[in-house]
């Protein structure tokens, strides 16, 4: 009887340990994504192409994919369908895609998004100053912000976001409990 109790305790301790070591912050990152622990996400408020104001802090509670782009940047254009796939595949999850266009006017962004057959909206950083604060490594760059509002990862360059390797990584983020 005593032996059974010890065994049960060991299983409990081991499973607790495993659950922590498989937590989101320790998960293996696919190629193109970097660990980027810089602390709290810098809040901002910007308007989207419909004129609706949006504050980043209102997204707390979800994992956020914060994406900086410009229509003149080739890899940004090429990446848009992949972001649409990501949006489609993550529908209903605790995951939010926030796109920020860097320093272009509303007409340019509206025309561009309308021409590439995606249903994505974008915030407009018209004078580029939010982008300056966030300092992406280049365009496009995406940041992953955890539900507590901490920046955890950065992805540089266009990625096949709809492919299983990235979808599985992101789904893992949204389902595994946070450690910090």
């Amino acid at each position: 009887m005593k032996l059974k109790q010890i065994f049960t305790l060991m299983v409990f301790v081991l499973s607790t340990f495993l659950s922590f070591s498989l937590s989101a912050d320790n998960s293996k990152v696919p190629f193109g994504i970097r660990h980027y622990d810089i602390g709290s996400a810098q809040n901002f408020t910007l308007s989207d192409i419909d004129g609706e104001k949006f504050e980043l802090n209102s997204s707390k509670g979800n994992w956020v994919f914060l994406h900086f782009w410009a229509s003149w940047c080739g890899p940004c254009r090429a990446e848009m369908p992949a972001i649409q796939q990501l949006a489609d595949k993550m529908k209903g999850e605790k995951f939010q895609i926030i796109m920020v266009n860097t320093a272009e006017d509303e007409d340019t962004v509206f025309e561009f998004l309308g021409s590439i057959n995606v249903e994505l909206n974008s915030l407009l950083d018209v004078d580029g100053q939010v982008t300056e604060v966030w300092k992406p490594r280049g365009l496009p760059t995406s940041f992953f912000i955890n539900p507590k509002g901490k920046v955890k990862y950065q992805a540089i360059g266009g990625r096949e976001w709809g492919s299983p390797i990235y979808i599985n990584f992101i789904k893992n983020l949204t389902t595994v409990p946070l450690t910090k």
């Binding site: 982008t131 490594r137 360059g157």
Partner: protein, 176 residues
Amino acid sequence: MFKIIILMLVVSNIQAAQSVIVKTSEMEVGFTPRTANQMGSFYEARGFPKAVRNVLKQQCFITVGIRNISNKKIWLDMSNWKFTAGGKPIKREHRDYWKKRWQNMGVPLSKQSTFRWTLIPETLDYLPGEREGGNILLPFSDKPIGITATFATGDNKQGDKIVITTDKLFCAKDSE
């Protein structure tokens, strides 16, 4: 005879604008000269004021692409790059110089921001497999452009340095 000379001039112009790729076992660095019209059109399409475009058209634009093909971190630091024209040192202006210049000209913030994004970062670390780049601007010259770029390696920049050199570049000119 006249036609042959013209043809030779055109060929020599095409050769002058050729890209150069320098490859080592650890990295690939590509240099592509851009003509004044190419860059002028790019910035015109982005709504840049004519005064800015005129300044930019006088520069020698070279698009640089850097890829880390090693299994260690490689560090770009533009302060470790040296430039020459016809063997004599020339200065690449830091992005802060351009920022100040645009501010003095009253260039809108959005255009200043777009311009900065087209430049190569002053510093950047490249993880294995990463590729990133941007433009460098040099004073225009008809003479061959030499570049010596030194990169630190390793997580703490303590690894062996990588030195990339080329003297086969020319500023690109539009055909007359």
